[in-house]
Amino acid sequence: MAKILVVDDEDDVRLVTQTILKKAGHEVIEAAGGGECLKILESHKPDMIILDVMMPDMGGWEVCEKIKSNKGLSDIPVIMFTVMGEMQDMRHSRGTGADAHVSKSFGMNVLLKTVERLLE
């Protein structure tokens, strides 16, 4: 069982993601934006972060860069989970240090499988 921080500004995406992760036996913390995510990381260290890219307060790529440049947090695997599914978006995610890029069009099963792979 892992503690996973799910960051997405869409309530329903957070709801369905956490439901699926909890069903798979994981503990879930939620954040509704990039700023809230960084705030949570000041007091919690999750085993993994699932990050949306397009968020109003702070985009997922910027959040990922901050996480990966912080020595205390850089070892946390980050999955970008986004509607931005083009190769250039994936390249951008990779450039920010993300460990995986899952297009939302791939579906929740692919996200879950990616979570399992990175936790192995």
């Binding site: 869409e10 994936m90 069009s105 792979r117």
Partner: protein, 319 residues
């Protein structure tokens, strides 16, 4: 929207200018030689005609200047109209791209939620006939998601006639693609072989990665579980080929060209895809003066091949 093209606009003006300037030039030339003749003839009567001819010559230059001025003004007007039309066109293209992006975001998100909740419904608790209905719902969601994603890419490239290019390492591109789709391949226990290590540069636009991503994801989609996909790059004198070999059902000879046409699909069944992906791939490859086609894999399945000129200026030659 009315779009003016520079060559057409200028051709009309150039034609008119050639006639007007040519006629006036001929007239002035004739008058000049007449004047010279009259001055040198010494004939008294002819001498009396010299002055009016001289006046006529001066007066005739006025329409010439007017004609040149008019032509200059016409050209400026055509250029201005052209600039305005181009700005309109650019604005329209940008709006279209923005609209496609908004559509992608605002439609994909609810589809993700829908798909997630459908996945949560325990299949074993469903009646047999309801199970079938749920499969239809899942396939419908997948098709809609795929359509939105592909339409978004197509809207960005379909109006393009040229692409900016830079030195691109194909090995790096393929590694990016494999990184992106690793989980999808792993879920079907598909072994992926890609042994190229040496950087292989071509002059290309980054958008070429969409082609490789599409071909690789198609190979995963159409491959049965526990099979193998081989990706390979071969360098020739002036061109490079990238191969995607799968062990799926293969493609009938009669479908080998049709699959690259919009909304054609090679089979109906529990696989996603509506044929836009290969249309986009073909368009992108052709913008690079390259070729894309499919052949039978001798060990079963298909081989999709993308051929690109190494130097972007050199067109691909037929074998």
């Amino acid at each position: 929207m009315k779009v003016l093209r520079l060559p057409e606009g200028l051709r009309l003006v150039d034609f008119a200018s050639a006639i007007v300037i040519g006629s006036l030039g001929l007239f002035i030339n004739t008058m000049y030689f007449t004047l010279e003749y009259l001055k040198s003839s010494g004939d008294v009567l002819a001498q009396t005609w010299a002055r009016p001819v001289e006046h006529a010559l001066v007066i005739s230059t006025v329409p010439l200047y007017l004609a040149v001025g008019y032509i200059y003004w016409s050209q400026k007007r055509v250029a201005t109209e052209l600039q305005l039309a181009n700005k309109d066109l650019e604005r329209s293209k940008n709006l279209k791209e923005l609209f496609a992006d908004i559509l992608r975001h605002d439609l994909t998100t609810p589809l993700t939620i829908l798909s997630g909740f459908v996945d949560l419904i325990p299949e074993e608790k469903l009646e047999e006939d309801v199970k079938e209905n749920f499969k239809e719902i899942e396939m419908g969601i997948e098709r809609m998601t795929s359509l939105i994603e592909k339409a978004s890419v197509l809207s960005k490239i379909e109006h393009k006639t040229d692409l900016e290019r830079e030195g691109l390492d194909l090995v790096q591109c393929i590694n990016d693609v494999l990184w992106m789709y690793w989980t999808l391949a792993n879920m079907k226990n598909i072994e992926v072989e890609f042994e190229n290590k040496e950087p292989t540069f071509v002059q290309a636009n980054m958008v070429i990665e969409e082609v490789f991503g599409n071909l690789f994801s198609n190979a995963i989609k159409y491959s049965p579980e526990n099979t193998k996909i081989v990706v390979d790059i071969k360098k020739f004198k002036e061109r490079c080929r990238v191969y995607f070999k799968d062990q799926g059902e293969g493609i009938k000879d009669s479908d080998k060209e049709a699959i690259f046409t919009r909304f054609e699909r090679r089979q109906k069944g529990p696989v996603k895809g509506i044929g836009l992906g290969l249309t986009i791939a073909k368009k992108i490859v052709e913008l690079h003066e390259g070729r894309i086609w499919v052949e039978d894999n001798p060990s079963g399945g298909s081989i999709f091949i993308v051929e690109l000129p190494i130097n972007g200026d050199l067109p691909v030659r037929e074998e």
